[in-house]
Structures are given as structure tokens and as C-alpha cells.
């Protein structure tokens, strides 16, 4: 344990090494570390923000999807109702048209029957006259028997 000049020289060396570290070693690396820490912190914050945005977007897309589903369901019911309506309308129109056709056919048939009756009437008188002529084998005065003939015509 002999204290000597070595102590002074070691203290000087120590001082120089401390000065060197304080001046040249510590600050640059400290800076680099701090900049990197900031970069990492920023990156983490950005990631957090991105995650949040993603959550929002997912929620929004779910909302949009649900809305669309609702709307499409509504449209579907509307379309169904409309189709039914169209079918009903078509049925009604067809019925009306059919009625009309039936009516007109009936009218025509009636008319035709009337006409046939008319012709028949016309011919009946003639046939009757001819028959009578044949029965009587003599001329019958058409004018004299007009009243009787017209009465006969009415009976038909």
C-alpha cells in the first residue's frame, strides 16, 4: 500500500477518459437511441391508429351491409306484391275481356237465331201457303186469307 505518483497519473488518465466519453461517446449514441425510440413510438402510434381505423371501417361496412340487406328484402317484398298485383290485374282484365267476348258472342248468337227465326217465319208462311195450295189443289186467294196467315205467323 504505497501511495505514490502513480495515483496522480491514474487520476489524470481517468479524467481524460471521462472527458472523452462525455464529449465523444455518449452524446452521438444517445441521440441515435433517442431518434430510434421516437421512430418506434411513432410507428406504434400509427399502428394503433390503423387498427382503430380498421375497426371503424369494419363497423361501417357491417352497417352498410345490413342496410343493403334490409333494402333488398324490402325491394323483394315490393316486387312480389307488385307481381301479385299484376297477376290480379291481368286476371281481372282477362275476365272482363272474356265476359265481353262471351257477351258479344251471345249477342251474335241471339242475332243469328233471330235472323234464322225471321227466315223461318218467312219460309213458314210460304210453306204453309204451298202446303195449303197442295192440299186444296186450288188457288187460294192470298189477299183473302191474309188475316189468317198473319195470325198464323204470330203463333210461331
Amino acid at each position: 500500500m504505497n501511495i505514490n505518483l502513480t495515483l496522480i497519473s491514474q487520476a489524470v488518465a481517468f479524467a481524460i477518459f471521462i472527458w472523452f466519453t462525455v464529449r465523444f461517446v455518449w452524446p452521438p449514441l444517445r441521440n441515435a437511441i433517442e431518434i430510434r425510440q421516437k421512430t418506434i413510438a411513432d410507428g406504434l402510434a400509427a399502428a394503433e391508429r390503423g387498427k382503430h381505423d380498421l375497426e371503424l371501417a369494419a363497423r361501417r361496412s357491417a352497417d352498410v351491409l345490413r342496410e343493403t340487406k334490409d333494402k333488398s328484402a324490402e325491394l323483394l317484398t315490393q316486387a312480389e306484391r307488385r307481381a301479385q298485383q299484376i297477376v290480379e290485374d291481368a286476371k281481372a282484365a282477362a275476365r272482363v275481356e272474356a265476359d265481353k267476348v262471351i257477351a258479344s258472342a251471345k249477342a251474335e248468337i241471339d242475332q243469328e237465331a233471330e235472323r234464322a227465326k225471321q227466315q223461318l217465319r218467312e219460309r213458314v208462311a210460304e210453306l204453309a201457303v204451298t202446303g195449303a195450295e197442295k192440299i186444296l189443289r186450288r188457288e187460294v186467294n192470298a189477299a183473302a186469307h191474309a188475316d189468317m196467315l198473319s195470325a198464323l205467323k204470330q203463333e210461331l
Partner: protein, 268 residues
Amino acid sequence: MTAGAELTPTSYITHHLSFMQKSVGTGDFWVLHVDTIVTSVILGILAFGFLWWVVRGATAGVPNKRQAFVELAIEFIDDQVKGIFHGDRHAFVAPAALTVFVWVLLMNAMDFLPVDIMAKILGAMGLHEWRMVPTADVNTTFALALAVWFLMIFYSVKVKGLGGWIHELFCSPFGSNPLLWPANFLLNIIEYVSKPLSHSLRLYGNMYAGEIIFLLLGLWAATGLAGTVFGAILGAGWAIFHILIVVLQAFIFMMLTVVYLAMAHESH
């Protein structure tokens, strides 16, 4: 080991514990321990040169392994300092702590070098009597502790002012009553004396004892082959245990430095 015939345990140990001395004046004080100075300065230049080399190429992006290693050391020191010192630690205290830790660690680590092999190699280079462990020289540990001691007083005065510092010498820890001044002052003087003593002697004692035990284990080799093997096994065991001591003592020395400097910054 200059002459094998007259080798006794005492001469062996004395040889290994002799400094390479160089007298630069008259009297016991004007002596330099060349081995201590050269070893410690070379270690310091290697360590801080390495740090400087890494730091010069430091990037804020993805660090390479070398830079990551240095950053690991710096972050470790910085964390320790952060817990103790509350102020602008980057200005001085943290880098000073890094200096102390790295330098003391490397000087302590010289203890791992096998004493006899190193003595042979250095002897072949013409350097007889060369002690490899600078921290086993009380001059080194005292130099460091005294430097810290002066820094402590410097920061006390700088932070509190000369008046504040003197006021603290007389008025803490018991109180500012004039009757308590002598007691306060006495306690502060004891504290100021004991701090550098315990600071330096703790490191010196541990390293010196470690060295002695290596030498004593080396003595087994004098008892023959069995003794040599036995001594080697014990030496390996002690070396493994010594890894803990080397790192722990460097760490303790660094922590005490930070604590003392932090105390100097705080007023009571």
C-alpha cells in the same frame, strides 16, 4: 522465477506482487508504477477507442450487432443512473458512470489472465515484475475514488453555492441549531473521509485478495503433478467465481460513483 533453485513460496508471491517501479525524483512519493499505468491506459484506449469507433458509425435505424452491444451497455448504465440521479444525467453523470464501469471492469478482468503464463510472456519481452491488474494497485483505486471525491465537492458547491455547501456542512443532518454545529460538522467530516476510503479500498481489497488466492493456488504446482492438477482445478473454480467478483465490483464502484454524485446534487 529468475532462478529456479532459490524459488520459495515467499519469493514466488513477492515476485508476483512487485510493481515495475520507475523513480522520477527523490523520495518515496516520486515513483511511478509503470505496469499499472501502461496496462490501465492501454485498456482505456482500447475500450474507449472501441466505443468511439462504434459510435461514429452509429445509426438511428436498425443497429448492427456491434452497435446493439454498445447500446445495451449504455442503456444498462443509463437505467441505473436514471433510478438514482434526478437531473440532466446526460450532461455528465451518466457518461462518467459509463467510463467508470467500462474501465474498472476491464482492469478487473485482467485478473483472469493466468499469472504465471503472463509472467513468462512478459518476462520474455524483458518485462520482469509486471502486475497485470491495475485495480489491485491501491494507487489506481484511490485515484478514481479521489477524482470522484473532488467531483462530489465540485458539484456540491456548484449546485448549492459555496455558502450553501458550508451551511450544509454545519447544519445537516441533525439541524441548524448552533449547539448542533460541532456534531454536524464532525459527522460530515467523517463522511467525507470515509467515502473515498471505502470506495477505493473495497475495490482494491477484492482485487488484491483475488490475485493472492490465484497465487496461492499457483503454489500447488510446487508439490508435484498431483498438486498441479489439483491446483489447476481449484484455480479454474476460483476463476469462475471471480467472474462474479470482477463484474460485481465494477458495478458497485460505478453505482457508488453515481450515488455520491447524486448526493452532491441534492440539498438536505
